[in-house]
């Protein structure tokens, strides 16, 4: 399998605090990785660096064979909107746009907004009939599904999810995880940051972080397609 993403000796230092301390990690194409650890272990920092939303203090980030750690902020933005889809714990939908419009925002900044495609994306997450609803009219699970639809609309190579089920009940959690499985089958790489074992155990590979260092990196034997 070819490498999609490689972190080489990444450190991120905030003043005295070493949020990430000389971390190296490789993500293959089509791989589903869970990054787990308690609060303050450096999960969010790592996600920001992978998602091109932050720069490491030292070390290299190689994405698809290209070193992006020295790129300008604008290049990073372009890179990130082409290759990566983001899913947040708080969904972060624009509250004055309806579901389909929220999906189209991502299209708009990527290329051209296309309502038909956006509706298809919503269909994939089972929300076609809720397309014209505002975020405030949707349940938490539905909002998260809109967020996922928005993440996949530009066919990214990597989906980056930050505690995607943190604000959801069990039924909705299962729906979201089903969608992840489906994406995985289609060959999309997934990086899911979570502290929830149940969610972590769904992944192919589990990486554990503690105090900014990787403490374990194991294949998940229980993984099922």
């Amino acid at each position: 399998m070819s490498k999609l993403l490689e972190l080489k000796n990444i450190s991120k230092i905030y003043g005295e605090l070493h949020a990430l301390d000389n971390v190296s990690l490789t993500v293959d194409k089509g791989e589903w990785i869970a990054i787990m650890g308690p609060s303050g272990s450096g999960k969010s920092t790592m996600m920001n660096i992978i998602g091109c939303m932050d720069k490491a203090t030292s070390g290299q980030v190689i994405f698809d064979g290209k070193d992006i750690s020295k790129e300008s902020r604008r290049k990073l933005t372009e890179f990130h909107r082409d290759k990566i889809g983001l899913v947040f714990q708080q969904f972060h939908l624009i509250n004055y746009l309806n579901a389909v419009e929220n999906v189209m925002v991502a299209q708009y900044y990527h290329s051209m907004p296309d309502e038909k495609e956006a509706l298809e994306a919503l269909e994939r997450v089972g929300l076609k009939d809720r397309a014209k609803h505002l975020p405030s009219q949707l349940s938490g699970g539905e909002q998260q599904r809109v967020c996922i639809a928005r993440a996949i609309i530009n066919s990214p190579e990597l989906i980056l999810a930050d505690e995607p089920t943190g604000n959801l009940d069990e039924a909705n959690e299962n729906i979201v995880l089903d969608i992840f499985h489906q994406l995985h089958r289609e060959g999309t790489s997934l990086v899911v940051v979570t502290h929830d074992d149940e969610v972590g155990l769904e992944a192919q590979r589990i990486v554990r972080l503690e105090h900014g260092k990787i403490t374990s990196d194991k294949k998940n034997d229980n993984f099922h397609e």
Binding site: R74, Y109, P113
Partner: protein, 431 residues
């Protein structure tokens, strides 16, 4: 999509946008009101200054030269006059609308109960009609406005419609000396002709006129036997303060270059109005009453400067108020804007979106504010000067430019913040 996002903002976040629009409207209304008042205050104060009396006198062309040479013993016998029917020409000149009032002043020495007094014939509230080239010009004019400082101590002001032509107003000092009361009839003799005049009022003027008798023009013309002639006409006109061009033109208008001449002719300088009066009535000579004309210029200048500075202050206040709110309005939306960046928007795209929304809000606010401000200007105009303030295109232009500039400037800190905004910091908040 851009349009849908903008529309979404307005359709579903109208409360926030309304607040910004209201502030912009308030700022714009201050600006509009102040600018309109400032641009019109010159004319308004000028009208008020008309209470000082006429600022131009028109006398027969050759009177100035000839009367001194030949009428050595009696200055008031004139050889030259202005024909009464020619005076209507005053209403046909370029700056006719700036002429607020005019009245003939025919003075004659007459005898009243054996003492020599000055008798003045004039218009009081005269209705004048003048036909020229098929157009009928008409105007109510006369001393009633030109002697606004008169105190009527007894009786009333002479009214040409109500009273007969053989009525008179007597100066307070003369009335006291001769023991004349309002309602009395006095006999006036002049060059062998006598007339009985009914005294309708006693006035106090505070100057030499307290010793005069004022009567109607017709009555004076009959007594002095000068026919339908005028010896002197007092004109009160709204003028612009003199500047370098006016000073240059006053020396000799023919020395001006073509452009300068046009500018001078089309500006309401006292000298250009005088010049136009002479053009219209060639046998007359019009000259500025320096005491009035100069002072008007000075006071106008000061008033305008005062209003300008007050306006600048108010604009400054309005500016700060608006930019304040624009800034905080954008800051409030930082989370949403950070999200757009996380979804892949570049700084430029987010800035454009924010600016478009703010600009639309501002323009709506400014339009509402302009009309509100114009209403304020009218309130000011009506309550202070009892007349409407003119709508100025210039004020509208300045307000538009100002509001756009203010909105842009007010957005600068917000945009700088946007540039620095890290989506990662905002989006992971609230854990």
């Amino acid at each position: 999509m851009f349009f849908r996002m903008v529309r979404g903002t307005f359709a579903r976040q109208w409360k926030k946008m309304l607040m910004i629009a209201v502030t912009v409207a308030l700022g714009a209304s201050i600006a509009t009101a102040m600018l309109n008042v400032m641009l019109d205050v010159g004319d308004k104060i000028n009208e008020e200054l008309k209470t000082y009396g006429s600022n131009i006198t028109v006398i027969p062309q050759s009177e100035a030269v000839i009367s001194k040479l030949y009428d050595v013993e009696n200055n008031d016998v004139q050889t030259e006059y202005i024909e009464e029917e020619k005076i209507g020409e005053l209403m046909t000149i370029f700056w006719a609308n700036n002429i607020t009032d005019f009245a003939p002043v025919n003075d004659t020495l007459a005898e009243l109960n054996g003492t020599e007094v000055t008798l003045v014939g004039s218009w009081f509230d005269h209705h004048l009609e003048f036909k020229k080239k098929g157009t009928v010009y008409q105007r109510d004019t006369g001393l009633t406005n030109l002697r606004s400082w008169w105190d009527i101590t007894e009786g009333e002001m002479l009214d040409e419609q109500k009273h007969s032509e053989n009525c008179a107003m007597v100066g307070v000092q003369l009335a006291a000396e001769q023991n004349i009361r309002s309602g009395d009839t006095v006999t006036v003799e002049c060059s062998g002709r006598t007339k009985q005049l009914e005294v309708v009022g006693i006035f106090e003027s505070g100057d030499d006129e307290d010793n005069y008798i004022y009567t109607t023009l017709d009555c004076e013309q009959e007594l002095s036997g000068c026919g339908d002639m005028m010896k002197k006409v007092e004109v009160s006109a709204i003028t612009s303060p003199d500047d370098e061009l006016a000073v240059k033109a006053a020396r000799n208008p023919s020395l001006l270059s073509g452009d300068e001449y046009d500018l001078w002719y089309c500006t309401a300088y006292v000298s250009s109005i005088c010049f136009q009066i002479q053009e219209a009535i060639p046998e007359a000579s019009a000259s500025a009453v320096r005491q009035i004309a100069d002072s008007e210029g000075k006071i106008l200048e000061k008033t305008q400067l005062l209003m300008t500075l007050i306006t600048v202050l108010s604009l400054f206040g309005a500016t700060l108020g608006i930019s304040n709110l624009v800034t905080s309005g954008v800051m409030e939306r930082s989370q949403e804007l950070a999200l757009l960046k996380a979804v892949g928007a570049t700084n430029g795209e987010v800035t454009l979106l924010v600016l478009t929304e703010i600009m639309i809000t501002s323009v709506i606010g400014a339009a509402a504010g302009y009309f509100l401000g114009f209403a304020f200007a009218q309130v000011i105009g009506q309550s202070v000067f009892s007349s409407a303030v003119e709508m100025s295109g210039m004020a509208a232009f300045i307000v538009i430019v100002l509001i756009i500039a203010v909105t842009l400037v007010g957005s600068i800190p917000a945009i700088r913040m946007l540039m620095r905004l890290r989506p990662s910091e905002v989006l992971h908040g609230g854990h």
